[in-house]
Symmetry: C2
Subunit: 119 residues, 2 copies
């Protein structure tokens, strides 16, 4: 049975918690990965959809980010035998587990912006 981590019950094991936090941030905190994952939370997308929805992300970089995400087991890449051939990307079940992390980050960022800008 997995024990839930709370700030209280890791009191004696602070360094493990800090490593775990760093692991997550290492995986998601590049300039683009979290954005790609966020867009894929809405459903599968092809390469062009992704590029269009993420402002400023070039094809070469998107390609690299998708490859990293695939290696980490967060997305799958499917080649569809259509004419012309299309490639779609989809979050794995494991990728979907990042949803609650992303929602927390989005909520906090939105409140922070309200606080800083007063809007």
């Amino acid at each position: 049975m997995e024990k839930n981590i709370t700030v209280e019950n890791v009191q004696g094991d602070c360094s493990k918690t800090l490593f775990a936090i760093q692991d997550t941030l290492d995986l998601i905190s590049g300039k683009w990965k979290i954005k790609v994952i966020s867009v894929l939370l809405y459903g599968k997308k092809n390469f062009t959809d992704l590029q269009r929805q993420i402002d400023g992300l070039g094809a070469k970089m998107l390609s690299k980010e998708l490859q990293d995400l695939e290696i980490n087991g967060l997305i799958t890449r499917t080649v569809n035998v259509t004419k012309p051939i299309t490639v779609t990307y989809e979050l794995t079940d494991y990728g979907h587990t990042l949803k609650s992390v992303i929602i927390e980050l989005a909520e906090w960022g939105t409140k922070h912006r309200h606080k800083i800008t007063g809007r």
Copy 2:
């Protein structure tokens, strides 16, 4: 009334969500800030405590990170008129709002480590 953000209800407003996520990551994703905040979630600490609990963090860098966090309204710095003078750092109520973000990051990172290492 603040509307909760979920992946579902921001469907029409994906770019705002992406900006909000980036705002949060910009604030916490340096090498040390999230660690300092995490340690302070356990209660106020003085400078030496913080340095001892965060492996590899030098005095000069810690000093800079604490100053940034203070400017962003996340911590307070209190000079205690003791002999010798001590300085304690404490999360503000606002700093404490990062708790749920940190717990999500820690939980996900722990599960990810289990998955990757099988331990």
